[in-house]
Symmetry: C2
Subunit: 337 residues, 2 copies
């Protein structure tokens, strides 16, 4: 194994000089710099991560806590993880994978043992037991999603309230007057997953503002539940012409259910989804949708963390604006039926 003293000897300098070339923390003459860099290259030197961490008390590793229980749409998570890993590498950091299961102890463990410098926590619930812990830890962290009590924490997510509004607004502009939000299964709401509530709130508020009739219904991602939900919805609101689906796995099932109930998309019913673009594009009828900007969230999360690690100030809350892409599933309301 080649070490810093080897590099130093070959370059005719002291180890500390090599270190300073590497870190840039002191000025080095151009000539020395060149010699040292050549020496590093020729020997294929790579600093020992442990030694570096010990001496500098920086491990250059971020922890990423992922919900490996399925449920949340996987592709979104993968995109997110990929963006985190890639962005972290761009800042000379690596990513340690922690599972949700490890819970608070896991966070404490990697923090106390100085395995990582900072934490990214995904799938944050409204009442998340990890929130107080993260506040107390000496390590910087970024949460994906917002707990009920977010002060003192740095959080980032798609702006779901605005997302609900955007969907309604799009339908309103097309002339729709009676709309519904088909959301996540009841247990997601019960679990207190903030985004579900927020979308519903934005949806309802915007509908009221536009003077539209609106309903919010949860929906299990099964064929039967989709069928039943749609039937009930159409029974209660026979003049329904617009629907927003915020439930990825149920999207195809609901589409199918609407069609079986005699509603053609988009002729009789305009459909907007909140889901990854990929899914919206590949549906039988491409669906107008607000994308989940997973990659951007991941990238921004890492940037926030890097800022915090370098004592740069960061905003407490980062809400990414929703972007609605029009596809074939929405159309102006048939003027007079």
């Amino acid at each position: 194994m080649v070490k810093i003293t080897d590099v130093a000897r070959r370059a005719g300098v002291s180890p500390s000089t090599v270190s300073y070339v590497l870190s840039g923390k002191r000025s080095i003459s151009a000539a020395t710099q060149r010699r040292v860099e050549a020496s590093i290259r020729e020997l294929g030197y790579r600093p020992h991560a442990g030694a570096r961490a010990l001496a500098s008390s920086r491990s250059n590793v971020l922890a990423l806590v992922m919900p490996l229980r399925s449920g949340i749409h996987l592709p979104v998570q993968m995109q997110f993880a990929g963006a985190v890993a890639t962005t972290a590498r761009g800042h000379d950091h690596d990513v340690l994978l922690l599972t949700q299961e490890e819970g608070e102890d896991g966070l404490r463990r990697v923090a106390d043992s100085a395995l990582v410098d900072a934490l990214i926590v995904m799938d944050v619930q409204l009442r998340d037991a990890r929130a107080p812990l993260l506040r107390a830890l000496p390590l910087p962290s970024v949460l994906i999603g917002f707990p009920a009590e977010a002060d003192g924490l740095t959080c980032i997510d798609l702006d779901f309230t605005a997302t609900g509004e955007t969907c309604v607004s799009h339908l309103a502009q097309l002339g729709h007057r009676c709309v519904a939000l088909l959301g996540s299964p009841p247990e997601v709401y019960a679990r207190g997953t903030g985004f579900a509530q927020r979308t519903a709130a934005g949806f309802t508020a915007a509908a009221r503002r536009y003077g539209m009739t609106s309903t919010v219904l949860p929906c299990e991602p099964t064929r039967a539940a989709a069928r039943e939900t749609v039937d009930r919805l159409l029974h209660d609101h026979p003049d329904l012409t617009g629907a927003v689906v915020h439930n990825e796995p149920a999207l195809p099932l609901l589409t199918e259910a609407f069609q079986q109930a005699g509603m053609r998309v988009p002729e009789d019913l305009s459909l907007v989804a909140v889901c990854p673009d990929e899914l919206a594009e590949n549906a039988a009828v491409p669906v107008t949708s607000v994308a989940i900007p997973a990659a951007e969230v991941g990238e921004r999360a890492v940037e926030l963390l890097m800022a915090k690690l370098n004592d740069r100030p960061v905003p407490d809350a980062t809400l990414l604006p929703p972007v609605l892409t029009r596809r074939a599933s929405t159309a102006p309301r048939a003027s007079a039926s």
Copy 2:
């Protein structure tokens, strides 16, 4: 930060004794052991990972190289990653996430800097550029999948040859005489992804052995391609009564295409899939399938790595036997049509 000397002082022993209690590398009297453990608990001591890595030249971290390009079925990957993380934790190791993109340099980097003790590489291709590197590295590694030249490497995967055979065998026992394998898109075969070839080989060999007529066709995961593939297949083999699908995203599309072509499942066509159980169970008609044992592969991969780290001998190749689960999509061939 509480360190080993603090623990030692409070327990009335030397730091080395604390270290030996922690590692169990020397015998310690029960009384001392108890005092030290109490001291550790009371102070909430956690060894500094960097210091430990430096002194012991063991980081207790495994690298997991994941293909974050999508394509391969995501849920399978997630299950796999989850199993790796969980099993690693069971052996007191953590998992560092590397993306496929980082390629060989990434492997070299984490190896040379002693960031990790061992490597798990997913999505191995038949002609994988990383194979020679892994052979040369001083770190133990396990590959998920088999490269063409596998000697000197430790590999693990589902036994795809046996999988192809198992599917045929199941169909044969049900009386089918003319069967087809609908596989991955052509580019997967071209890329040299071993598992596709191996399934086809097992399938073809078994069909010959049973004296059955057999065909192998690739299929793109699009509605149009599925339609076309099925039409061609039925045109060329009008007496087809059994099909094996080894292409997760195309499974629903192919099922649909068969039905549109007038083949009811399982009355007219018995369908076997090679796919995660979850997918097979939730199809419109639950599909008889050979599961991809992602979790088991992940777990076994870590176990293999741990064995290698402890200088225990391990087999070069581990092939997990396929397990076929009967569901509603296969039935005896209609005796006389």
